[in-house]
Subunit: 136 residues, 2 copies
Amino acid sequence: MKTVMEEINVIKAKDGTVAVASAFAGHKEAIKDRDHKFLRKAIEEAYKGVECEDGGPFGAIIVCNDEIVAASHNMVLRNTDPTAHAEVTVIREACRKLKQIELSECEIYASCEPCPMCFGAIHLSRVKVRSKIWAL
Amino acid sequence: MKTVMEEINVIKAKDGTVAVASAFAGHKEAIKDRDHKFLRKAIEEAYKGVECEDGGPFGAIIVCNDEIVAASHNMVLRNTDPTAHAEVTVIREACRKLKQIELSECEIYASCEPCPMCFGAIHLSRVKVRSKIWAL
């Protein structure tokens, strides 16, 4: 896998210094790709949920150190539980797997902007929302 | 058990009509008693949760037709789940028992004013909050 520095045309001066502007632009681009990769995963979960008829078309994933810790979708119908939104079920699963009630080292990606309940759950779990980018 | 009309000094006119103001005052009083009864139950649940060391000191109950359908407390530590607040766990339990995802015929009583996540869950479940009275 290419590194950020390899992916961009770094302007290297004779003294070995690198133009900060171009390095920054490349970094932003790489983060965008990363966001797209994980958001795509969240959307795949949403499709999965609809296929299984588990609930509404919403998916979410939780990432830790660039690895997906948990992936889940809306389970309202499956669990007969109006609180089983994708963000809530994925937080629950990640906490269960990591055996901890706070996810400050993790990031959440969701296929849609979270509802107030899910925003509350995100806040309580301390899971990071790296940017204000949602899939939809 | 006394009825509302027995509990108050109803001013009955010769033609059999009842003074509305006093009847209304008595009705309010009876509702207050009902609220106290159910709020006390919610607080008992909070104590139970602390005794079991299941999580924070918060309890909630769901009532349908004057009967308690579900009673629960904060289960954050027990379930390793930051979303397992009393209101969320009691909504989940009531839905499971009644086999439905909406609780518009039910009322919720909580030992403390719900957090934003729980307010979201209350809204989604359609469970009624009869008044803005919480135990604490």
